[in-house]
């Protein structure tokens, strides 16, 4: 059974799929401890892979992703929120492209600065939260760099409120009262090291909330106006 040809024959038929249940289980167990068999299986998978082109793609049921997420973890982020973030990213890419194409230098500068601030360095682990009243109306996007905990707040569709300011709060049980992360701007992105003083564990489980305060921010250090948007962070590496 250890002859090279035997191993290759076994691998070939395993990949072809014609072995019975016991044989399949036996091979699956053996490949874990026999690198030669495992390598032969991978080679056969590559060889025969083009045959999958013969199989017609079929869209799975619409709720499949939600079920997968529910399996991955009980507290999974709903796919509607993932979809929102992907959509926002797409729109920001569009803005970025639009900015480069803009003929008015001033406009392109404003966009370029805004987008540059928002863009984290590639391949860094980030956390992103969409702050919204409901999934249809995202207002701000918060990105937190896990390494230095620098936070970027990007306005998406927050409407300016005359005579009022939006203030961002960090809410988590162990913090007690909501902690102010400062007044945020509904017109342009801002990057701040405000979160550096908080532990990552707290940030990850916290809720970000935006309240509507008198111009310049809450006079008391606690939210005084209505909470208009909230969101929690989910991981991403871009």
């Amino acid at each position: 059974m250890t002859d090279d040809n035997d191993i290759d024959d076994l691998a070939a038929e395993y990949v072809l799929g014609t072995l019975d249940a016991d044989e399949r289980a036996f091979i699956a167990a053996r490949r874990q401890r026999e690198p030669a068999l495992d390598a032969a299986i991978l080679e056969w998978e590559q060889r025969l892979a083009p045959l999958s082109e013969l199989v017609v793609a079929v869209n799975p049921p619409a709720d499949t992703m939600a079920k997968i997420e529910a399996r991955i973890d009980g507290t999974g982020v709903p796919s509607s929120e993932i979809a929102t973030i992907i959509e926002l990213r797409r729109r920001m890419n569009f803005w970025r492209t639009a900015a480069f194409a803009a003929s008015a230098l001033a406009a392109s500068l404003i966009f370029a600065v805004g987008v540059k601030n928002f863009q984290p360095k590639p391949r860094q682990q980030n956390l992103v939260a969409v702050l919204q009243k409901d999934p249809a109306s995202p207002a701000f996007l918060v990105t937190v760099n896990v390494e230095d905990r620098v936070m970027t707040v990007q306005p998406v569709a927050a409407k300016p409120q005359p005579g009022k300011s939006y203030e961002l709060w960090l809410i988590q049980d162990s913090l007690g009262a909501p902690k102010s992360l400062g007044v945020i701007d509904e017109h342009s992105a801002m990057t701040k090291p405000t979160l550096a003083g908080y532990k990552l564990k707290i940030i990850e489980s916290a809720t970000f909330a935006v309240s509507l305060e008198p111009q310049g921010g809450s006079p008391t250090g606690a939210p005084t106006g209505p909470v208009v948007f909230t969101g929690k962070l989910i991981p991403t590496t871009r």
């Binding site: 070939a12 072809l16 799929g17 998978e45 045959l51 999958s52 049921p61 991981p235």
Partner: protein, 181 residues
Amino acid sequence: MASAEDISALLKRIAQKDRLAFAEVYRATSAKLYGIILRILRRRDIADEVLQEVYVKVWERAGDFKPERASPISWMAAIARNRALDEARRKRPVSIEDHPEVQDIASDDATGLANILRGEDRKRLADCLAQLDANRRQMIVLAYCEGLSRDELAKKYSQPVNTIKTWLRRSLTQLKGCLGP
């Protein structure tokens, strides 16, 4: 459509538990994997369940993916096929006559194969398949795409199981020789 490089990069991010990357990979690959699974299992209820398990596995094992050893799509397709085949072998064999739609694939027609299998790797495989006898070529395609077992092939071709086994081994050996290193 996402390229192999795109999917590889996304798998790397999934290994770091990036949910956005996972959602993007799902979007780019789920119809393909579902097609593969459904073709083998021929029952939507079981195929739905298997598809979920496959993506949970992709989520958990993305870190095991080695781009130098496999293309990301064939890595994922292998997970899907293995899971679907394990499931198919557990059940009583499904008679092929119960599923006439199974036979509509362009399996025995070498020209049909060549039309579908474009691109360098695919063309090479199509050329090598074309060198097999029609019956044996069809057998390979039915086994790979439809998940037919040796017993099912034996019934379909009215041959003893051992003969089928011999034919399959010879066909695979011939394919390997034709495809080269």
